[in-house]
Symmetry: C2
Subunit: 201 residues, 2 copies
DNA sequence: ATACTAAACGGACTGCGGTCCGCTTTCTAT
DNA sequence: ATAGAAAGCGGACCGCAGTCCGTTTAGTAT
């Protein structure tokens, strides 16, 4: 029953990961999860991580590229789950429902997803400059674009971008945690936005 | 014809600014404008500024609080101008036109404003955490909120927040400069968004 | 003029993200 | 088993934002 641990993102020509590299990746991921669990993502520093994982700082950056990259790695599981939901799951989030309902469900799902993973998302988004080289973001954008096109929006690409920013993690988290807006108000307003946007003339 | 230079933001009980402080403020502002002019806001470092203004680093931070604060100071002139435009200027941007037209004009104005001052705005927004303690942002938000309420939106406060993020400087600048979207597409899409959002059932 | 006080000053210092590069380890080919 | 090459490693190092605190200086009161 021994299983080979899956290494994500490994493109076709796999030069085979070295054993020490694999070990260190494991160490780093565990240490990172510990640190996040005990003090939150915001407080995690790359030095502390390197230290806790008994690894050089260079190794940390070789592995994840940047702090944002680390956060994205930490997010990737729950993110894939959410992605799976809107791509293959049951309607109204998944395929089978009309665009209006799917967009409403998408926004609601996204809002709750953000509220669960807000710290990580904010830390991951802080990259600045990438922000849209992030596959997950591109995928969400494209998903909305397609639904908007189906619904007759003239420039679905740009509209999807507007909606993407309307669902910005920082915005959602701060609305709820800093400005005291309830999640319900957020989802209600999203529903109002999409409903008005898509109802036919 | 001698005029006393206006010191902005000075609340009632003015303990009178010391002469050396005034002189340093002038130096810093000039140096900052020079630096921005020659290499862009992004490249401006607080050390370089202090050095160029022949002033200690502590002085820079005493004056502006943070890099974002400095950028906001640099912006304040053009920002007031834009604010004046939508608060007191001629319709459709200013009062006198219906909310629909005013919102469209507001978004268009904002897009062009951002494209002119994008670097400064991005650098100013990087504050993170404040972002809404910024008076200018609050004012824009409130402006939209009022127009949305007039137009019958159920939760104008939250909707205004969505629209605020849809007009985020980073979004606009990156759409145009990184992703190659023309300003016209942006304004057209904004018009489509607002038009659909506000047309009555 | 003198003495006093509070504001202002400046630059050394800290903490963090990120880079660099000489050294070490693992894998592969023989 | 051995040697060579490449991937991996680690920590000193850099640049930058922001803080701290002992020193200087501009106004004020006498």
């Amino acid at each position: 029953m021994s299983s080979i641990p899956i290494r994500p993102d490994v493109p076709p020509g796999a030069p085979h990961e070295r054993s020490d590299a694999a070990r260190n990746r494991e160490r780093l991921l565990n240490a990172a999860r510990d640190l996040v669990a005990e003090s939150g993502a915001e407080a995690l520093t790359m030095d502390a991580l390197a230290c806790k994982a008994h690894v050089g700082k260079g190794t940390v950056f070789r592995r994840f590229g940047s702090r944002a990259g680390l956060m994205m790695t930490l997010l990737s599981d729950s993110e894939s789950e959410f992605q799976h939901g809107f791509m293959f799951g049951p309607p109204p989030l998944g395929p089978g429902a009309p665009p209006l309902d799917r967009l409403i469900a998408f926004g609601e799902g996204r809002i709750f997803f953000v509220l669960e993973n807000g710290e990580l998302l904010k830390a991951a988004g802080a990259a600045t400059r990438n922000r849209f080289d992030v596959p997950a973001t591109k995928l969400s954008h494209r998903h909305m674009e397609i639904l908007l096109r189906e619904a007759g929006i003239v420039d679905p690409w740009v509209m999807a971008m507007s909606l993407t920013y309307a669902l910005d993690p920082e915005r959602i988290v701060d609305d709820v945690r800093v400005r005291g807006i309830s999640p319900t108000r957020l989802t209600d307003s999203w529903r109002e936005l999409i409903t008005r946007l898509l109802r036919s003339a």
